[in-house]
Symmetry: none
Subunit: 196 residues, 4 copies
DNA sequence: AATGAATGAGAGTTCATTCAT
DNA sequence: TATGAATGAACTCTCATTCAT
């Protein structure tokens, strides 16, 4: 019974991810989500407080996952700072492309959320920034990275760049070779970070 | 009445920019735009076909401007490819920050528009990509740029990066020193482009 | 100057007739009438109180004309009752088809008006009924017409029949030969009226 | 809930018939229909696609009924042509007066609909014409009816006459004795049809 | 007299959410 | 728990009418 319950919630969440990715949050109707999940639309409200809660739920899940991964990388004593950053870029790609629909939703709606009171979700994002900052500072301290770089600026720049590429790819996967894009991205990051 | 006509259209457009930037396109009501512009809501429809026309109008204006500027830079024979790219980054910052609200709208809604049939606007974007691609190829041909870089990937990466930074800044101008951010961005671009 | 004034009012009225006939009263916009008449839409209100006044104006004009004609026929001492009725049918056809657009408007909107307070127009209609009733009674008295016929019922029946035919014809003049239709109508009327 | 569903749709339809009959289609607001039916205005859209669908629904229902009845009469081998026509007039009266409000709506809006793309409804009307034409031709062939009569003209004439009478009666039932009107109408039809 | 920019009441329609079953 | 009928706030857009010029 517990499993059943979770299954229905999952079905609804997956349906919501699919529809939000395809049409965007505001353009998706609760009815469409319910139809896709093969439940009555009232049932959505049994598992989720409201439409926004559905969005929040999926987004925070992804951020949590990414945030955790980045923290692990950041704390791994076997990697040097450059290796860590490379692995972080890999992680971003992996998380966002493992469920490309979900990744698309997060990228699409992320900036909308920042304005609203979705603090938990935004909190995870800030947490993720810290993991990188920490690694960056380590890299500077150990002489790997260019100390004139502002880590915040760099981070937003890279995050924006990766987002845009993933967005393109998720919308039309055949237009970009995601593996190549990943390698190129890592190269850009490396070139920008290491001391000239 | 002499100047008035254009002035009122401008007032409405400015009000729309302000509201779209603050709340997003879908969250903004026509009534709010009219109130902000101090006109009756019906007046909006005297100057613009509908809500979407309002969005299209402001966005295409900015793209046209940027597209033209990038083309000029691209065709300037007095600049070498690296200088051109640097100037292009400057131009992006200048256009998007000269009217920070408008820039915010364009960045916020750009990906939504790609889905819809706003072809003229999207056309300008493609045009802009061409100017850069051309310059990049020139740079590779002249031995300035790393030929292993895929220009499309690089362009989207940089565009995403700049968008993200400008978005941050426009939302909260005091959180980032835009001049510093611009210099840093140009540095990242340069480091990524030039031959290792 | 007096002529000029009348000309403009006429142009507007003709434009209104044209548009009302083609699209119906409610479907016609003041702007369309003004455009058709080549005046600014504000000018319409210089000559007519409002949109309904425009309708009233054209309708009452036709009723007046018809009402007058029927009265003349009714009072003509040189005609016997059957001849009078035949001439009345002719007159209805002539009035409604002389300006087929106007006829169409009157037929289309007549029943709408009865509900509203367009008493003058409705008054003309009642006046017209009287002319017929009078002739009918004369016909009965003189032994021409079947006394079991209720003149009111007969009149509405005939008026409805003629309206329907004229409506058909005005909408698609090539679908009906109006002369033939007129002759047939007169024949139906005669057959119904005269003593079996 | 068992019967409820249909009952509510019926209540809305009846309310719409009432309002359309009283004020006409264009003059009736969805809110008024909903108020009359004692439902929220949104509920109207649970059962009907839109306002026009409501009109179409009621009109096509009546036409279908009449069209079927006339066909049956037309195909009845036990009746001679004159009896058939008499029964057809009876049928028209019966259908239009059984729900006088609905009849009024159909008569009022019928000509509006012909202009629009309400093909199904118009199709039924054409079907109805055929039943009559068939009977008329039979009557001519069997020597009952006057062969100089054009059946199309006659049909439109009669349909117009009946419509007008029913319209009058539906608007003010006390002004006309509907039974008398029916008998008179049948008499007019008979006199017009049979050989002089 | 003529204009057309400005107005704003008002209409149809949508859809997230509720709740009786 | 699941349902889907019912709700009504909210929103975009229309257009007859007014009035400053």
């Amino acid at each position: 019974m517990r499993l059943k319950k979770d299954q229905k919630a999952q079905a609804i969440l997956q349906a919501a991810i699919k529809m939000f990715a395809e049409k965007g949050y505001h353009q998706t109707k609760i009815t469409e989500i319910a139809d896709t999940a093969n439940v009555a639309h009232g049932t959505v409200y049994t598992y989720f407080k409201n439409k926004e809660d559905l969005l929040y739920n999926m987004i925070s899940k992804l951020w949590e996952k990414l945030s955790l991964t980045l923290e692990e990388i950041s704390n791994n004593p076997d990697l040097d700072p450059l290796q860590k950053v490379q692995k972080m870029v890999d992680a971003v790609f992996d998380v966002f492309t493992s469920d490309s629909k979900l990744g698309l939703v997060v990228i699409k709606e992320h900036n909308q959320l920042r304005k609203k009171g979705m603090d938990a979700s935004v909190g995870e994002y800030e947490h993720l920034l810290n993991s990188f900052s920490h690694t960056f500072e380590q890299g500077v301290a150990e002489g790997f990275f260019d100390p004139t770089i502002d880590p915040d600026t760099f981070l937003h720049f890279v995050f924006g760049g990766l987002s845009q590429l993933i967005h393109r790819w998720a919308n039309d996967p055949r237009s970009l070779n995601i593996q190549k894009v990943k390698e190129q991205s890592k190269y850009f990051v490396q070139q920008s970070l290491i001391k000239g």
